[in-house]
């Protein structure tokens, strides 16, 4: 492979890893627990910002051309872990406000509003977040330690991304395959019935919400460390819809579906097509891409409303002495 081709492929693989993580996290919230988190992108952005300010040196070091807080210059993997913690903590805060008493359509709308609040605050609090310029020159993990060529480092980063992705996948699978996962599905399908059986609905929702938020934070950290820049303009609320579209297309409630959806919608449609030749006026291809994402989602909703890989119905062994009629 030529080196430009290697750059292209490794870029796509990193994006794939990031999107798979994000989709697994959102699938836990939306697909499994039924929480319509339209603010998902905020938690990803929070993780990305956390990782950025923890790897950057003090803001005065580079002539103070961008202002931000902390600047701890921490070594890899601490910023990644901190990003997950911040994503989870922010989710807990939002979840305590939004998930406790609101009906689910109100929850969805409050999440939209929270997403817009976050964008406004981040853009205007220039001392904290450097305003709409965002952050640049974020150091990459282990770059000087590994001492690889640029292409070599690209592949090293693919490995880092995939390790994180596999970790996320293991965690999510542990949850969805456990009694906790069944309880979450019960809350999603009928919260009143779940509550009547003694399940703490709010607590279960919070568990899914916080875990998903932590995963979002981690995925944001992986992305920001890769592209070495962070700006509020790339984390606006429509970006959350892309992940929703991915999960719907792949199969809501099914982890494999979330992975396939991540590969299809954000990667194949939005990232890979970035390199097709431009035609028409600048911006036409972008607009048409989004039209195609919308039409694709509508088509899938029409023909396979449960996605390419639908959630498998759970079957349980019948309890002894019950429903065992013998036909003769």
């Amino acid at each position: 492979m030529s080196s430009s081709m290697q750059f292209y492929v490794s870029n796509l693989l990193v994006y794939l890893g990031v999107d798979v993580m994000a989709c697994l996290g959102l699938n836990l919230q939306f697909g499994v627990a039924g929480l319509i988190n339209f603010a998902f992108i905020v938690f990803q952005a929070a993780g990305a910002y956390t990782a950025a300010v923890l790897t950057l040196g003090p803001s005065t070091a580079m002539g103070g051309f961008q202002s931000y807080i902390i600047g701890a210059h921490l070594p890899f993997p601490l910023p990644f872990l901190a990003a997950a913690v911040v994503g989870g903590a922010l989710s807990l805060l939002v979840g305590l406000v939004a998930l406790r008493r609101l009906r689910s359509d109100y929850q969805a709308m409050v999440m939209l509003v929270i997403s817009l609040i976050a964008t406004t605050v981040v853009t205007n609090a220039t001392g904290l977040f450097n305003g709409s310029n965002g952050l640049a020159l974020i150091p990459q993990p282990l770059k000087s330690t590994l001492g690889l060529s640029p292409v070599g480092y690209q592949w090293a980063y693919v490995v880092i991304t995939f390790v994180c992705t596999i970790l996320v996948w293991v965690v999510v699978r542990r949850i969805t395959g456990s009694p906790l996962g069944r309880a979450l599905r019960a809350v999603r399908d009928n919260d009143a019935a779940a509550a009547a059986l003694g399940k703490n609905v709010t607590q279960l929702r919070l568990v899914a919400f916080v875990t998903g938020g932590a995963i979002a934070g981690l995925s944001g950290a992986v992305l920001a460390q890769f592209i070495t820049a962070w700006s509020p303009g790339s984390w606006l609320f429509p970006e959350s819809f892309v992940y929703f579209a991915a999960i719907i297309v792949g199969g809501s409630g099914n982890n494999l579906g979330a992975i396939v959806g991540a590969a299809l919608v954000p990667v194949a449609f939005l990232e890979a097509t970035r390199y097709i030749p431009q035609f028409g006026y600048p911006g036409l291809v972008d607009a048409l891409q989004w039209v195609v994402v919308g039409l694709l989602t509508l088509t899938v909703m029409w023909f396979r409303p449960r996605g390419v890989f639908p959630e498998r119905p759970q079957r349980f062994a019948r309890p002894p002495g019950h429903g065992t009629e013998t036909k003769t």
Binding site: R101, T120, A287, V291
Partner: protein, 295 residues
């Protein structure tokens, strides 16, 4: 001149546009329970229709009529061609939200593909300005406020005094029961979409009139304050939406002069969240339960 009185004037205009938009949003939601997130993009579409009308030499009145008409047709068409078929096929609340988002993506970016991502403004003669008790309004802004008042009075009259309005309220309260009582709920739903679409179109044109320049994303961005106003009052309650619009509109413009214009929407949204913490169903709504999508 007192800056607070001035910003009160701005607040009244914002509240007027919000009121038209959120009453339209909430009327349709109350009757059909479809959370139509493409509403903002239909607003943008109406603004573009008004733009084309004014470019062809039409005045403000023609632009408003064309905007309202195109909004009504677009909403009715969206429901008939997209939403109802999906509901008939068994798509429910979560799914319908995703369907409306997809439609929103298609409409918004379709408009952008057609009109390009640049700024547009309605080509109308320069308005004259008037001063009232320290507040300055242009003649166009007075039209916006007047339209909002007329629209609210008409919606109130429709809902309280006409047979159709009673049928709409009955369908909103319980579609099954309404149908058993001999109300043609499918026709009521059609009317709800038409009416909501006309309000949506009017709001789109007034928004374009007020912001001086708009893009293909203007309506989509305005949707969030619209939703906030509707939720604040209790979704599905037109009177709640009116109050919500006044609260959101006034608080955002007043906080712009008291705190900082940068945070004006944040203040309005925080009010929304605080109200929902105290009254999770919104100000007017009685019950905090959710209803199924009506066909």
């Amino acid at each position: 001149m007192n800056i607070y009185v001035l910003s009160l004037g701005f607040g009244l205009i914002t509240a007027s546009i919000l009121a038209i938009a959120s009453v339209g949003f909430t009327l349709q939601f109350g009757v059909t329970n479809v959370l139509n997130l493409a509403y903002g993009d239909v607003m943008t579409g109406a603004a573009f229709v008004a733009y084309l009308v004014t470019k062809a030499g039409g005045g403000l009145a023609e632009a408003l009529v064309a905007g309202a008409g195109s909004g009504a047709v677009a909403s009715y068409g969206l429901n008939r061609l997209v939403y109802t078929p999906f509901v008939r096929r068994g798509t429910r609340l979560f799914g319908m939200i995703i369907v409306t988002i997809s439609v929103s993506l298609v409409v918004q970016n379709g408009l952008q593909a057609i009109f390009k991502a640049t700024f547009f403004s309605l080509s109308l003669p320069r308005p004259s300005s008037y001063t009232f008790a320290g507040m300055i309004f242009t003649s166009q802004q007075l039209v916006i406020i007047g339209l909002a008042v007329v629209a609210m009075v008409l919606v109130h009259a429709l809902l309280s005094w006409t047979k159709l309005g009673r049928a709409m309220r009955a369908t909103a309260a319980d579609p099954e029961l309404a149908r058993s009582c001999g109300i043609a709920t499918d026709r009521v739903i059609d009317v709800a979409w038409l009416l909501s679409g006309a309000l949506c179109g009017t709001a789109g044109v007034t928004l374009a009139l007020n912001v001086s320049s708009f893009t293909s994303t203007t309506g989509g961005q305005f949707l969030i304050p619209v939703i906030a106003a509707a939720v604040l009052g209790g979704v599905g309650h037109p009177y709640g939406a009116m109050i919500g619009a006044v609260v959101i509109g006034l608080s955002s413009e007043l906080s712009a002069s008291v705190i900082s214009p940068d945070y004006k929407e944040v203040v309005a949204f925080i009010i929304l969240i605080v109200v929902l913490l105290i009254r999770p169903q919104g100000i007017f709504s009685e019950v905090a339960t959710q209803k199924e999508v009506a066909v």
